[in-house]
């Protein structure tokens, strides 16, 4: 299960599992955001390559409009996925808390 919602302006909170089954709904939500957005991943338990694809597409769109996606609160095993895929170089990742 995945939940994704706008908590306050510029901050989106995502929780649960961002996998191939949930990628489409996450993409639909993120297609609506604009500007510089912080994605709070404190509750994100899992991400696969399908989820990374959603974030990549969103980041490309936001950067193209002088905005961008920042990530925060990543769990260590999620950080691993970002590192192995080189996505730690594509996103600004704030230290987890």
């Amino acid at each position: 299960m995945l939940s994704i919602e706008q908590a306050e302006p510029g901050i989106v909170v995502i929780a649960g599992r961002l996998d191939a089954a949930e990628a489409a709904s996450a993409q639909a939500f993120l297609d609506q955001v604009s500007g510089t957005v912080t994605l709070d991943c404190t509750g994100l338990d899992y991400i696969s390559s399908a989820g990374l694809g959603v974030l990549l597409k969103t980041q490309k769109r936001l950067l193209g409009a002088n905005g961008g996606l920042r990530l925060r609160g990543l769990k260590p095993h999620i950080v691993d996925v970002f590192t192995y895929s080189g996505f730690d170089r594509i996103f600004e990742i704030e230290a987890g808390h």
């Binding site: 191939a20 696969s48 390559s49 399908a50 694809g53 990549l56 950067l63 192995y84 895929s85 594509i90």
Partner: protein, 563 residues
């Protein structure tokens, strides 16, 4: 005899010469120098033209005369001729006219052109009453040897015998020490080539033990992960001393090199054999097992050059299979073609036991050998114990059996076991919305198989990526994908089977260049890239008959994994 000495007073020079020999007793002369000293002293004291010393070579029953450096010494049977007569009787022989004595051997004169007139032959018997050799002094200046000379010579001979005996003993000790040091070094080299630790092979337990015999032995083993799979070697060189220790070391280095350079099993075996044939001495060879295990297919292929028996424990039947050597020992003769390698497919719980002669042949106090049956019984009884413990049990059993009897050969044991490990199977429709079911299946399997939960996110990722790949690219009739999760030592094995599909080797999918700037990055290929990065092992097999794709992935807890 002592009375006879009083016939003539010793000259100062005589005394000095005898004292010189006495003094030389303590000097660290080598044998050649000491022989020269003794002959010079004899010539001077007895006023002889020439002198020589024949040394007694007891093991060969011969008397040996060192003629000159670089020329083979003259050897005669210790009973023959005048020297022989002197050696056997241990009595001085004074021959005033050699050519009138039938015991005199004229051939030496003939070959040297020197004419021997008279001769004094003296036994050299040391202080422990051991015959050291025979001294001969030839041609007394202006006359023949008289009883005074006999007495003098006897006194001198006693000193010479002690001196020579001492030198011989010293050189034997030095030689022994040199040999011991060289042997120690060779053993050190031999030991240093043994692997420092066992490689981690998912799905397998492997452990080895090597215990050198005190003096001799030429065992070696190797367990190493190479591109071809898991390399397993057990070698035993013939002979005693330094040579076997060094030749097995050489063989192991050659094998590692061959496999690192990409050689297959047959090529490595042939080439190493032929190279060893060139370099080893004629009478030397090495018996060796050389095998390569593919941990993905569980196929073990091996050649055994005279090394046997190779034992394979079949866990399902609790029985043993003995495999004979496939070839003769390495280094014995050049080979241009080989019999096919033996191939085994290890089932769950099966054990491959490589055990050297030193174990099978270890005797107890009653002279009975440890034997194969005992090895087999311990392996069967320890079928549930970890391999490391099994190796310990074997070693302890050999010790208990020997009961303090000396270890006469190196003992080497290498055990490889394919893990049992229970498994959980599931079938999932080839649709993306089956993912939720897969996640629940994995979580449940982790609990049932008591697998470390730290591995769950990695397993979830691998299962999802491989499964969605099958959903995307599988053009089959919509059949289910089989997923099996199995516990292995320190981790988990994941197997996904998809039938009626085209082959797609996930291990050969191109790597993603993760250093590219964002505008050049695409999500494609990331899934397999992540799986390969996170797994300890990824294997792919395709069965054309059933058009079946089988992907095997293994994960284990690494030392650095956070608790």
């Amino acid at each position: 005899m002592t009375a006879a000495v009083s016939h003539r007073a010793l000259s100062a020079a005589d005394l000095e010469a005898i004292l010189d020999v006495t003094k030389a007793l303590a000097a660290p002369f080598d044998l050649t120098t000491m022989l020269g000293e003794v002959v010079a002293a004899a010539k001077q004291v007895l006023r002889a033209e020439r002198g020589s010393v024949w040394l007694y070579d007891e093991p060969h029953g011969e008397l040996v005369l060192e003629v000159a450096t670089g020329i083979a010494p003259v050897r005669v049977a210790w009973q023959s001729g005048l020297v022989g007569a002197c050696a056997t009787t241990r009595r001085i022989i004074n021959v005033p006219d050699c050519y009138a004595d039938p015991r005199f051997d004229r051939s030496v004169d003939k070959s040297t052109g020197y004419r021997t007139r008279c001769m004094l032959t003296l036994p050299l018997v040391d202080h422990k009453d051991v015959l050291v050799g025979v001294m001969q002094v030839l041609n007394k200046v202006n006359g023949v040897f008289d009883p005074d000379d006999e007495a003098l010579a006897t006194a001198l001979a006693a000193q010479c015998a002690v001196a020579l005996s001492r030198v011989r003993m010293t050189s034997a000790v030095i030689e022994g020490e040199r040999m011991r040091k060289a042997l120690e070094m060779a053993r050190e080299v031999q030991m240093s080539t043994l692997p420092a630790s066992m490689p981690a092979v998912p799905g397998y337990g492997v452990c080895a033990s090597f215990r050198p015999a005190e003096l001799t032995g030429g065992d070696i083993y190797d367990v190493a992960l190479v591109d071809q799979g898991l390399l397993l070697v057990l070698g035993d060189a013939t002979g005693h001393g330094i040579a076997p220790a060094l030749s097995v070391t050489q063989m192991q280095a050659m094998l590692r090199m061959a496999f690192r350079l990409g050689a297959d099993l047959d090529t490595a075996f042939l080439n190493v054999n032929n190279r060893l044939t060139d370099t080893l001495a004629e009478d030397r060879f090495i018996t060796a097992f050389i095998g390569v295990l593919d941990p993905g297919t569980h196929e073990l292929r091996f050649h055994s050059g005279g090394q046997g028996p190779i034992l394979r424990y079949r866990a399902a039947e609790r029985s043993f299979e003995r495999h004979r050597p496939t070839s003769f020992p390495l280094g014995a003769m050049p080979v241009s073609s080989l019999r096919a390698a033996t191939s085994l497919r290890l089932a769950r719980g099966d054990v491959l036991a490589l055990v050297s002669d030193g174990v099978y042949e270890q005797e107890n106090r009653a002279g009975e050998a440890f034997g194969e049956a005992r090895v087999c019984r311990i392996i069967d009884e320890g079928r549930d114990a970890p391999v490391a413990e099994l190796v310990d049990r074997l070693v302890a059993a050999v010790d208990a059996f020997a009961g303090g009897a000396p270890q006469s050969d190196d003992m080497t044991i290498v055990l490889l076991r394919r893990h049992e490990g229970a498994s959980v199977d599931g079938r999932f429709a080839r649709r993306t919305d089956a993912l939720a079911g897969l996640v629940a299946f994995s979580a449940d399997a982790f609990e049932r198989l008591a697998i470390d939960s730290r591995l769950l996110p990695r397993v979830d990722l691998a299962v999802e990526e491989l499964f969605t790949n099958m959903v995307k690219y599988g053009r089959g009739g919509g059949g289910a994908v089989e997923v099996r999760l199995a516990a292995i030592e320190g981790g988990i094995e994941v197997v996904l089977v998809d039938r009626d599909v085209e082959p797609f080797d996930v291990t050969r999918a191109p790597d993603v260049d993760i250093g590219r700037p964002i505008e050049q990055r695409e999500p494609g290929g990331l899934g397999l890239h992540l799986v390969r990065r996170m797994a300890d092992f990824v294997g792919y097999e395709y069965e054309p008959a059933s058009r079946e794709s089988r992907i095997t992935v293994r994960f284990t807890i690494a030392q650095g994994d956070p608790v």
